[in-house]
């Protein structure tokens, strides 16, 4: 029973991180109908930015509250900028082209980032994973029984941060002027442009928010894993994407539910079956979902306009 509870907690903690990344996929998909393949790799770049900042701050400062905030701010801001640049120079010129061209571009960017960061030329970090500094000292937040169930402080923190960001996002999309513009662009960006909505700006900002969220999630993931590597973007990104599809891509709460679900299933597979199968789980679920309910749990398969 205690074991079950522990897995439940670990699964939820992992799920919240997937959820933050999945939100980026779902938002960009919402406005552009594009699967932003490079999303996970943008996240990876953000984590390296945070890593570099932590280094620059030094062992003492990086653990202070201000230090941590600064690390998060740099990573999220840097990523937002990166997202902006990618959108501006790679996706925007292709917006009216066949969907396949944008998809190929996204795959290309993902590949360039994840393998570019494996080089050890110049500032690039090289392929080997590096230890991520313990900017948040892991402490036991809650212990039940004789260490039967342990809840760590970072688990609580990532849960709080994730929930906070999600609530904020929901508020942004449904309660603000910008959110209304976003939804209009999502519905039909050409018509939205005719209605005087600055679609370019809306899309750019959406990219920036998505990328910033990803950087935050990436840092949480790195803190949990205590490591950072160039390929983490690919794996976390793919799983987050699977989560978004499970929930119904383009559907914000769906992405969260899908991510939590995925986090739990993975945790239980690792806990009760074998950890080596962990990476296959997400894709197994993906294929299953596509077979049974291709639109995801909450989405619908939109009929193409004829």
């Amino acid at each position: 029973m205690a074991q079950l509870l522990q897995h439940l907690i670990n699964g939820l903690a992992a799920g919240t991180i997937y959820a933050l990344v999945a939100l980026g996929y779902t938002m960009v998909y919402g406005v552009l109908k594009l699967i932003n393949f490079a999303h996970g790799d943008v996240m990876m770049v953000g984590v390296y930015m945070g890593y570099a900042t932590a280094f620059a701050l030094g062992r003492q400062t990086q653990k202070t509250f201000l230090g941590v905030v600064l690390i998060f701010l740099v990573a999220m801001g840097g990523c937002a900028l990166l997202g902006f640049l990618i959108e501006r120079f790679a996706y925007r010129p292709l917006r009216e082209k066949p969907r396949l061209t944008a998809l190929i571009t996204a795959i290309g960017i993902s590949f360039a980032l994840s393998y570019g960061f494996q080089l050890d030329i110049g500032f690039l970090p090289g392929a080997a994973p590096r230890a991520f500094p313990e900017i948040i000292q892991p402490t036991e937040w809650l212990v039940i029984g004789d260490r039967d169930v342990v809840v760590w402080n970072w688990q609580v923190m990532s849960l709080l941060i994730a929930v906070g960001l999600m609530v904020g996002l929901q508020w942004l999309v449904f309660k603000t002027r910008f959110g209304r513009a976003m939804r209009a662009v999502s519905y039909d960006h050409r018509v939205a442009a005719l209605m005087g909505i600055p679609t370019d700006r809306v899309i750019a900002v959406t990219f920036m928010i998505g990328s910033g969220l990803a950087a935050g999630a990436g840092l949480l993931y790195a803190i949990k894993d205590t490591s950072v590597s160039p390929l983490m973007g690919l794996y976390v990104g793919l799983k987050a994407f699977v989560a978004a599809v499970i929930g119904g891509i383009g559907h914000v709460p769906g992405a969260v539910v899908g991510a939590l679900l995925l986090g739990l299933v993975e945790e239980f597979v690792v806990g009760y079956a074998a950890s080596t199968w962990r990476d296959a789980v997400a894709f197994g679920i993906l294929i299953l979902v596509l077979l049974v309910k291709p639109g995801g749990l909450f989405g619908r398969v939109a009929a193409e306009k004829v």
């Binding site: 795959i107 290309g108 360039a112 291709p294």
Partner: protein
């Protein structure tokens, strides 16, 4: 009365039963001759075999990504299935020989059987992966094929019969240049004949407008799955061949990187162009080798020569982005080399590796 759009091979008074397989009958002796000539040059043989495998992969992927307009990025997964199935079969029949044949011939028979088994296994996987995902819009296929590649990797790493992470070694090295060349030839022939049959036109139609194709009675999902199965079959063959001329196969040989390499070949050659895929595959196989030799000859930076393999990957990514932004149709677009080259020639000869 022949048309420009459907050039059926010229009848030339042959019995029709022969016409279908005539190209094969011509190709085999030529390939055998070639094989003999290069017998004393192991590196050239190896490089040409790699090139051949890459051509098979690119041409077969082009059937799905080019002709049908879908986007699979997990071709290496099917290659892995073929390699492991064929490899395990060959390993288990290593000591057996057909008594009524000379040893060399018997080896080749076993090789072909192993290859066909590998191809069939890959085709079956293609069917199982394709059926759920090809019903949906294109980008799902990309993700699912990518995921499939991962699943294969995980399965291999967890299966003793496949040597787990260490891989399989000791597979009889029975593949030859002639065998690789034969399959290259076969995949090209198949791609051409599909493309120029009315079935192939239906694939093009799906690429052009899926809704309209469906409305005109084309079973789009069925066609896509069939294209996918054929494509996976040849990827499996390519994997099987690969397993029979490299000393060891392990999960590292069939990663996402390999899939991307094939995708880059197809996109560079021009989505839909078989000759484009061939040219790009040859070019991209030779390029790293050429760079490596160039750096080594220059001698200045020994480490640079070793870095070629590393640098290749991000360059592939950037190449894709640049292609999409500047020349989305690739080298030849949907056309074949002989349709495009005459238009280029008068102005300037374009280097073709």
């Amino acid at each position: 009365m022949e048309t420009s759009s459907v050039p059926t091979p010229s009848p030339g008074g042959l019995p029709p039963a022969l016409r279908g397989i005539l190209p094969v009958l011509i190709a085999v002796p030529v390939l055998l001759l070639f094989d003999r000539l290069l017998a004393s040059a192991p590196f050239a043989t190896y490089l040409l075999s790699i090139m051949g495998v890459n051509v098979i992969l690119a041409v077969s992927l082009n059937i799905v990504n080019g002709m049908t307009g879908q986007f699979s990025i997990g071709h290496a997964g099917f290659m892995a299935v073929g390699a492991y199935v064929a490899g395990v079969l060959s390993l288990s029949f290593k000591e057996t020989a057909l008594s009524f044949l000379p040893v060399a011939a018997s080896d080749q028979v076993f090789l072909v059987v192993a290859l066909l088994a590998g191809g069939a296994a890959a085709a079956l996987c293609g069917f199982l992966v394709g059926l759920p995902s090809l019903r949906l819009r294109g980008d799902y296929l990309a993700i699912v094929t990518l995921g499939f590649g991962e699943i294969i990797r995980v399965v291999v790493q967890n299966t003793d019969a496949f040597g787990r992470a260490l891989g399989l070694s000791g597979i009889p090295q029975t593949s030859s240049l002639a065998m690789v060349g034969f399959w290259v030839f076969l995949v090209v022939l198949v791609a051409r004949r599909i493309a120029y049959s009315s079935h192939g036109r239906s694939l093009w139609a799906i690429r052009e407008d899926e809704v309209a194709a469906e409305a005109m009675g084309v079973d789009t999902t069925g066609y896509k799955v069939r294209a996918f199965v054929v494509s996976a079959f040849f990827a499996g063959i390519a994997g099987g061949l690969f397993a029979h001329f490299v000393p060891i196969i392990n999960p590292g040989s069939f990663t996402f990187v390999k899939s991307m390499e094939i995708v880059v070949m197809v996109v560079l050659g021009g989505l839909g162009s078989t000759t484009g895929a061939i040219v790009a595959a040859v070019f991209l196989t030779l390029l790293p080798e050429a760079l490596r030799s160039a750096f080594t000859v220059m001698g200045a930076e020994g480490s640079l020569a070793q870095k070629v393999d590393q640098i290749r990957m991000p360059v592939y990514g950037l190449l894709l982005v640049a292609l999409m932004l500047l020349r989305p149709q690739g080298l030849f677009g949907m056309k074949e080399i002989w349709e495009v080259l005459p238009r280029w020639l008068p102005r300037r000869r374009k280097g073709l590796a």
